[in-house]
Symmetry: C2
Subunit: 250 residues, 2 copies
Amino acid sequence: MKAFDFDRASKLMPALSRGKVDASPCAACSVRGLTICAPLDSQEQGQMAAIMNSVELQAGDPLFDEGEVAGNVYNITSGTVRVYKLLPDGRRQVTGFLFAGDFLGIAKQDIYAFSAEAVTPCLLCRFPRHKLEDLMLRLPKIEQRLLSIASNELAAAQEQMLLLGRKTAREKIASFLLMLAMRARKRGQVEDPIAVSMSRTDIGDYLGLTTETVSRTFTQLKQRGIIQLLANHKVSLAKREVLEEIAGGF
Amino acid sequence: MKAFDFDRASKLMPALSRGKVDASPCAACSVRGLTICAPLDSQEQGQMAAIMNSVELQAGDPLFDEGEVAGNVYNITSGTVRVYKLLPDGRRQVTGFLFAGDFLGIAKQDIYAFSAEAVTPCLLCRFPRHKLEDLMLRLPKIEQRLLSIASNELAAAQEQMLLLGRKTAREKIASFLLMLAMRARKRGQVEDPIAVSMSRTDIGDYLGLTTETVSRTFTQLKQRGIIQLLANHKVSLAKREVLEEIAGGF
DNA sequence: CAGCGTCGTTGATCCACGTCAAAGCGATGC
DNA sequence: GCATCGCTTTGACGTGGATCAACGACGCTG
């Protein structure tokens, strides 16, 4: 398990060393309503901003690795992050994709239970855990929000277990596309031609399939006119009802 | 989705209607150290006990169904509970087994995201959610404990996704047996001849396999001398190191 | 202690998906 | 404009686990 390379990270994330943030970085935040900051008033947001640093990542950059001391939590402002676990022989399970507005870093004890990497270029807000915990004592709303986020993630994890354990390849792909559409809608983005920002390999590792099966299943759905594969990794859900029927109870 | 039948439940759970609890039911509780009550002093435990009801279940009894209004949370005192989700055509994914000391009922919004049933006869402590939420405002330790429980469950869920998406049948069974042993140890029970309280079907639905495959894999491990199948659903982990090697990074 | 129902085991066969291999197909750089 | 590289697609083939079908082994009940 490779440790987080802070020197490399500093070069890759210029904002990280700058330290000082803008006067009111949160005022302009487009995902404020979605995330952990949602229940806070502007004075309280200021307290959050005071312990926050901005982080910028290139596609492929690691955020942290499984087993590492969990020093920070993150809020994604833009971009896509993948979260995954590895088996010793290299088999990988992507346990989630995170988008703008999503929160990252809830950890049992003080050790990350998974690794995280940028899928696309990303902007994030980083909070040192111990400072956030101090702040939680004064602002219990944060802790409540965190519990609510954890509950939602738990429900999503159970849905994903149902998918991994009991759905066919076609049902998995259909569920995946609908999940992307649903989450794009939640953060106010267009949800018909959805942007599929991750590779076939990432999708396969998320759904418990190989890239070949993912590719074949996309082709099959395309040939039946259920989806359209467009340029720039966009996918149109031509027959959403059919997709919903295939997904089966997502 | 069948709603929870309260009348039937009342008959099945005599303790439920009794309402009044013993003077200090928690003092004698054998799982106090493991569960949500762990961080509370005896006066605070009294406050918990005041909003608590005892519940007794027979094997197979439902606790609640997915989609139902999440009115209660539970603490398991003894027995085994299964938590699961269904697809419309009846395919089932067991998302977890719960044992003495485990907490049940963290729900996103106010709707259960899964169903729960007794696998064996069970004793539980039941807390009405709204009363527990009131108590949380006065005892933030409870909320912290709940967040900690949720974090642990999240880590376990990710481990299970790795298992479901990327492990072979043999690796799944090995991981499952080691998980049972580990959890038996945590609650202070014997962990070598482990008690396997659930059926092959339950195990299959937990691991994303069929009963036949579960049975064949058990037989295979037995023939290789790695485990022994004893009477009364007990299994001895004859060669635990081999099992750990097979499980691969659990 | 015989009869019955549930659960577990075993065998034969099938198929959805994995594996292996090679050919498109954009992007990027020279 | 053409070589290169990574990603995706497509094809041929193999296989792990599912399915279908008996059969055995308990535990329960009368």
